[in-house]
Structures are given as structure tokens and as C-alpha cells.
């Protein structure tokens, strides 16, 4: 079914929150999914795969340890929303020419938007690379070099690198005004989003929206 980008972002944000992320991370995850949909890539599907896989995990287990090279997660596999947030927060490092490498990372596709945002913040093109995929962001828009298209949607990669890009490789990525979400993706994300909704109670029905005067006159 055809979805607007706005409602896709809203669904992804709520699902990420329902999946246990703090609000600030959930907001960025929603924007990341929107960015990927605009690129025509299956961002919502990636999130729908990620959330069940890391359901119930603690932040400390999946956030990056940034004092190691490559970045690693305490419990083995990095959450792309956590790694992405840490990445954009360190955009200044890229401006100074640094490269960031990551060890095992879940759903690397979800990291691409954060790379684009870091490129904007750093004011120079960056490329994100994992086996089979190189995406260059910033400068002349987004370009993708994918000798193995299936690599875009891998569940995890064991090596990943984000670095200042000296040249643009691959094909320009067209922008899409809307997205088509598979029904099972919507079902999964909706189920996670539902966790953010409070079940109805007699009190909430009576007063949650404000009872007050009649509304039928």
C-alpha cells in the first residue's frame, strides 16, 4: 500500500519507542526510515526486522563503545540507531578527516541516513561501506555502488567503515515522494507502536479528551 513519508516516519518513530528506544533515539530512527524511503530503500522493512531482534535488550548492551577501534557493542552486535546517533554526534571528527570503523552491526542499511546527516554536519562527503555496498553521501547527493544488491538488506555485517570520501562512486540515488510498505512490515511496526498507546480505562474515557459541555448543539 502507498504510504506518505510523514505517516511512515510517525509509524517508525512510535515503533522504535515501543521497541524500547528512548524518545530522542526513536525520533531519529523515524527520520532515518523516512530518509531511506525517500531513497527508495526498504528502511521500514529493516526496522521491522531489527526491533524483534533486539526486543528487550538494554542500551548498555548494544550502544557503541567509542573508545575502541573498531567500535564494538558490549554484547556483540551494535544497534544501528545507537551507533548512528553516536556517529552524528561525532560529525566534527569527520570534518577533521577521521574514519570510524564498526565491528558487528545489525541492519547496516539503517546507518546510511546517519552518515548523510554526519556529512551535512561535517561539511564534506562521507562514504559508508560494508561488504557489497558503498554509499557516498553529501556533495553531489547520494550515490550507491552495489555490486551485490542483496548486501543492502543484510541482517548484520561484521565490518563497516565510514570515512571522508575523496571521490563519488556508483549511481545517483533518485528521490521518491512516497513509499510502498509491505503488509507484514506494517503489521510488525504497528504492533511495536501499539506498545506506546495506553489501554482505555473508565477514567480516560470520561476525561482524557475533556468532557465538559455538550458537543451536539
Amino acid at each position: 500500500m502507498s504510504w506518505s513519508l510523514n505517516e511512515t516516519e510517525a509509524l517508525a518513530r512510535k515503533a522504535a519507542r515501543g521497541g524500547g528506544m528512548d524518545w530522542g533515539l526513536a525520533e531519529e530512527t523515524g527520520k532515518a526510515v523516512r530518509w531511506l524511503c525517500t531513497a527508495g530503500w526498504p528502511g521500514a522493512e529493516a526496522l521491522a526486522e531489527l526491533l524483534p531482534a533486539q526486543d528487550g535488550v538494554k542500551w548498555e548492551a548494544v550502544r557503541p563503545r567509542t573508545d575502541t577501534d573498531p567500535w564494538t557493542a558490549r554484547d556483540g552486535i551494535l544497534c544501528p540507531s545507537a551507533a548512528g546517533a553516536a556517529l552524528t554526534d561525532r560529525a566534527q571528527d569527520f570534518a577533521e578527516g577521521r574514519t570510524i570503523a564498526m565491528a558487528a552491526t545489525a541492519r547496516p542499511l539503517l546507518l546510511v541516513p546517519y552518515t548523510a546527516w554526519a556529512a551535512d554536519l561535517a561539511g564534506r562527503p562521507l562514504s559508508i561501506r560494508w561488504p557489497g555496498v558503498t554509499v557516498t553521501c553529501g556533495g553531489e547527493g547520494t550515490h550507491a555502488d552495489m555490486p551485490d544488491p542483496a548486501a543492502l538488506t543484510v541482517a548484520r555485517t561484521d565490518t563497516l567503515e565510514i570515512a571522508p570520501a575523496s571521490e563519488t562512486t556508483g549511481q545517483p540515488v533518485a528521490r521518491h515522494p512516497r513509499c510502498d510498505l509491505p503488509a507484514d512490515t506494517v503489521r510488525t511496526l504497528t504492533a511495536f507502536a501499539r506498545r506506546t498507546y495506553a489501554p482505555g480505562t473508565p477514567e480516560s474515557r470520561a476525561t482524557g479528551a475533556g468532557a465538559g459541555l455538550t458537543d451536539n448543539d
Binding site: 553516536a86 506506546t196 495506553a198 479528551a209 458537543d215
Partner: protein
């Protein structure tokens, strides 16, 4: 940026309804009633087309025969007297058939990227049948009786920005007519008003083809379109900090420019006096059953009387007369009166302030990225500056966070509950920026991280607050400087502020959480716009002018 002041805002010439009408007039929009296929019971559909330069937009109205027991104009309703969508272009039969299957279902239906808004309206039980009966009997309705309500139908939600599958705002980015905020929503409501007036006359005519009258044009203009607005609108102001900033900044800059004028021309002085007199009539005709609003209306009426008396003796030939008048108002008037005075001061100064309309949009995307390299001490200083009011609150007192914002599973709508009486905490929405800033402030004090990036790596729970604080440091009006969780918070203050920017009048709170308004009252109808003034309708005209 206190709620009590925001909750006293009035429409101004910067308001979005007025921007739309000025643009439609200046760009010579053409309007066309293309389809009106509605039976004697009021069932059928109509299509009203607005032709802007370069694009046409069609209001598709579905009119229904709603059993009386299903009529509720709250967002929680499931059936309505009329449902609408604003279509991008001119619909063909297949579009109408598709939309007839979806638009009447509202939230339970699905629209496409061709549709810009989705909305609905109910008849006013108080006067709809009365007006039909009178017209069918060959008589005009009584102006006093219709003035008690001021509209024949009330809308509720007007969904835009991609909701329920509609077009994203981004998709309209290249349309000059939609650069200002909420223009698709305002256009929808403008066309809905025209449809509703045609519908009431049509039904009277179907009932008594030989006898029925059309509404007297003067009386017809006095009907606006009602709206009931609930809590859903309040979180928007918190989740769109850059937009909020730009709205308030435009208003503040407009006031600053007027106050900076060294002198007032005879023309602007005369125009100001006339607008002030009209504002008094407006205040006298504004009705509400809400005790809080009744008290504010008493203040406003007294304030407008005081302004009239002051103007009789004030020396408007002295230097900086508008600044002096503003200072007098600040010292003399209630918040209602002060905010009305802001609106009045802008009114005769269109040449000076109308360009600010172009600054009232915002791209939130440009502002939401966190500056991770910011030293932690700097973030702490920002929090102390922007949220000093929140740091002074005793958050351990139950009353300071008695309220909790959540989304209900049953209606998927924002709600406000009692934190200490209901099991809602796991579902709390991040809509208490002051409380959250105070929590972050405590964590900042205990952290040895050198930068925001290092702090947030350990404290992801403060990511939202860190972002807000950095935005508020750049944009001075991005944050409401008041406690949205307090036991005494009145969400209607937030609703009124937003609705005043739309251009709404006659705020009539129906509880602390929802409010009724009137939109486009006295505005020229589409077929009148070419020959009438586009921007001289918001306040009622003076009787002595024979108007």
C-alpha cells in the same frame, strides 16, 4: 512564552486565513461550483474548484443523512453530516468513486497522494433546521438567533501533511500558494464554508421549490464555519519548536516595527481608531459558557472601553505614539486586552509588517540535529538560561507533574490524564519539556563527560531534551516557558495560541481541553472575492458606517 499570555492571543493580519485570502485576491484565483449532486435529504456529493495560477484544487464534499443520535463533533465520532477532501487538480469519476469509499470513513479510510486534506463537519443542531425551515417558508432567519451560533456547520479535525495516506507537505514545496503554514487546511475550510451555505439553501429549495428564498447576502456573510478543536493540537506546538519560534518571532518583530515608528500619520491614526471600535463590537458579540473565558471576556470588554477612552485624550501627535500606546496598554490592560492591542497595532500597518508572513514557515529538519561537539558546560548554561523557570519548580511536589500526556489505544489520539491516579506512566509522551530539562540538568551536574556526544552516549534518555535545549538556544521562541504537566495547566491555552495564528475568532472553551471557534465569519465568499476587499472582514463593521 507563558501559557496565560499565549492563551490570550488574538488573530492578526499575519494569521494564515488572512494570508490565504489576500493571496487569492492578489493572484486572481477563480472559483467554480463544478458538481452539486445532492438530493432533498442532503445526500450526495459536490465539487468546488479553486483555480490558482498554475494549479487547481477541488474540494470534494460528501453530504450524508446522519441519524441524530450519531451526531458528535468530537474527534471520537465515527459518522458525520458531511465529509471532505481537498483534491490536487480536478477529480474524474474514478477519483470520486474511490474517494466516496474512503472519505466518509475519515480515520478508518485511506486517501492518496492526490489528496491534500481530509476533514468533516456536523450541522449545528441549534440552527440548521431553523434556517432551512425559514428559507423554505420564504422568510429570512432572524439575525439575532443566528448570531447566537454564528455558523451552520462545525468542522473538527482537518487532517493534512500526509495523514491517512494524503500528500506530504514536502510534495507541495514548490507551490507558492502553499508556502505559508496551514494553507491547504485553510483553503479546505474556506471552501467548506461556501459549500455549507449553498447546501442549506439547496435543501430549502428542494423542500419548497416555489417559495424558498436564498439567504440575504448580508446575513449570509455573517455565517462562518465552526470548528471544535481538542487536545491533538496541543502537542504539535511542542513537537514543532522551529515553527512555533517563527510564528512568535514574526509577531514580535511586527510589533517592534510598529513601536519603532517615530510618528503616526492621520490615516493610520484614523484606521486604528476605527479598528479599535470594531474590536469592541467583536468583544461584545463573543459568547462563551466557560467561566474562565467569561472572566476574560469581561476583562476584554472593559479593556476595549478603556482603550476607547484613552484614545479620546491620548496625544497621538507626540513622538513614538504607537510605542507610547503599547506601554500604556502593558501597564493598564489585562492579558486579553494587551494581546488584542497587539493585533490592533498591526492592523493599519500592512505595508510595514506583511512581508513577515514569508518568515512564518519552518523546516524542522534544519534544526533537529544535535551538536555533539558542544562542551557539556555550555549545554548546562543553556539549560539554566532557557529553563531557569523549570529549575525553580519543586518537581517532587505532586502538583508540579500531576498531569501526564499519553496516546489512547482506543482512539490513537493525544490525551491528558492524572499521573498519580491512573496507570499511565509507561505510556508518557515527551510533552513536559520543563520537567525533562530539570532531569537532564541534574544528570549534567553529575556527569564528567567533556562533550554532549559523550554525555548522550551514557544518557540516551536525555537525547530529546538536549536537542530541545540546543534548538531553544538558537531560536528564542521555540519553547513554551511554562509547565505543561502542572495540576493547573489549561491545554486550551495552547489550542487558542495555535488557532489565533490560523485566524480564528470567538474562542469558546468547552472544558479545559477542547475549544470551539468560528472561522471566516464575515469573509467574502469565493464568488465575491474578486469584487470585495479580501482583508477587511475579521472584525465586525461599524453600524454607524451603514454597514
Amino acid at each position: 512564552m507563558k501559557l496565560a499570555r499565549l492563551g490570550a492571543f488574538h488573530q492578526t493580519r499575519l494569521s494564515f486565513m488572512r494570508q490565504l485570502l489576500r493571496r487569492m485576491k492578489a493572484d486572481k484565483w477563480q472559483f467554480e461550483e463544478r458538481v452539486f449532486d445532492i438530493d432533498s435529504k442532503g445526500v450526495g456529493h459536490a465539487v468546488y474548484v479553486a483555480h490558482a495560477p498554475g494549479h487547481s484544487y477541488s474540494l470534494i464534499a460528501f453530504s450524508h443523512d446522519l441519524p441524530a443520535d450519531q451526531r458528535s463533533d468530537r474527534v471520537i465520532a465515527t459518522a458525520w453530516d458531511a465529509t471532505f477532501t481537498l483534491f490536487d487538480g480536478i477529480p474524474d469519476e474514478a477519483d470520486i468513486a474511490r474517494l466516496a469509499e474512503n472519505v466518509p470513513k475519515q480515520e478508518a479510510g485511506r486517501i492518496s497522494g492526490r489528496e491534500l486534506t481530509l476533514s468533516r463537519a456536523n450541522r449545528s443542531v441549534r440552527i440548521w433546521d431553523y434556517v432551512v425551515d425559514r428559507l423554505a417558508a420564504g422568510k429570512q432567519p432572524d439575525a439575532r438567533k443566528t448570531a447566537e451560533v454564528g455558523y451552520l456547520m462545525r468542522t473538527t479535525a482537518v487532517y493534512g501533511s500526509g495523514k491517512f495516506g494524503g500528500a506530504d507537505r514536502d510534495a507541495l514545496a514548490d507551490r507558492p500558494e502553499f508556502q505559508a503554514p496551514f494553507q491547504v487546511e485553510m483553503l479546505s475550510v474556506y471552501l467548506i464554508r461556501a459549500f455549507v451555505m449553498d447546501l442549506v439553501e439547496h435543501i430549502a429549495r428542494m423542500r419548497a421549490p416555489d417559495r424558498a428564498l436564498a439567504l440575504d447576502p448580508v446575513l449570509r456573510r455573517r455565517f462562518g464555519i465552526g470548528n471544535s478543536t481538542g487536545l491533538g493540537m496541543a502537542p504539535f506546538l511542542i513537537t514543532h519548536p522551529a515553527l512555533l519560534n517563527n510564528w512568535i518571532a514574526a509577531r514580535e518583530e511586527a510589533l517592534r516595527r510598529v513601536r519603532a515608528l517615530p510618528e503616526a500619520t492621520h490615516q493610520t491614526r484614523a484606521a486604528f481608531r476605527q479598528t479599535a471600535a470594531r474590536a469592541l463590537i467583536h468583544a461584545l458579540g463573543w459568547r462563551s459558557e466557560h467561566p474562565g473565558q467569561q472572566a476574560k471576556l469581561e476583562d476584554l470588554r472593559a479593556d476595549m472601553q478603556a482603550l476607547t477612552e484613552h484614545l479620546a485624550t491620548a496625544d497621538m501627535a507626540a513622538p513614538y505614539p504607537w510605542d507610547r500606546l503599547w506601554r500604556w496598554g502593558e501597564a493598564t490592560l489585562s492579558l486579553e486586552g494587551q494581546e488584542q492591542l497587539v493585533s490592533l497595532l498591526l492592523e493599519p500597518h500592512g505595508d510595514l509588517v506583511d512581508d513577515l508572513c514569508d518568515t512564518m514557515s519552518a523546516d524542522e529538519e534544519e534544526n533537529w540535529r544535535i551538536d555533539g561537539a558542544m562542551p557539556l558546560a555550555r549545554l548546562r548554561a543553556i539549560v539554566e538560561d532557557v529553563y531557569g523557570w523549570a529549575l525553580a519548580i519543586d518537581w517532587s511536589a505532586q502538583s508540579s507533574q500531576a498531569r501526564i500526556w499519553y496516546t489512547s489505544e482506543e482512539k490513537l489520539e493525544p490525551r491528558m490524564g492524572e499521573r498519580f491516579d491512573e496507570p499511565l506512566s509507561p505510556y508518557e509522551q515527551p510533552l513536559g519539556p520543563g520537567r525533562d530539562a530539570a532531569l537532564m540538568h541534574a544528570a549534567l551536574a553529575a556527569s564528567d563527560a567533556p562533550t554532549v556526544a559523550e554525555f548522550l552516549l551514557k544518557h540516551p534518555e536525555h537525547r530529546n531534551s538536549a536537542r530541545r535545549a540546543q534548538i531553544a538556544a538558537r531560536l528564542p521562541y521555540a519553547e513554551i516557558r511554562d509547565n505543561t504537566l502542572d495540576a493547573a495547566v489549561m491545554p486550551i491555552d495552547m489550542l487558542r495560541m495555535k488557532l489565533s495564528f490560523f485566524g480564528a475568532c470567538h474562542f469558546d472553551p468547552r472544558s479545559d481541553r477542547w475549544v470551539r471557534i468560528n472561522m471566516y465569519q464575515n469573509a467574502p465568499f469565493p464568488d465575491e472575492l474578486a469584487r470585495e476587499a479580501a482583508d477587511d472582514w475579521t472584525l465586525p463593521r461599524l453600524p454607524e458606517a451603514g454597514e
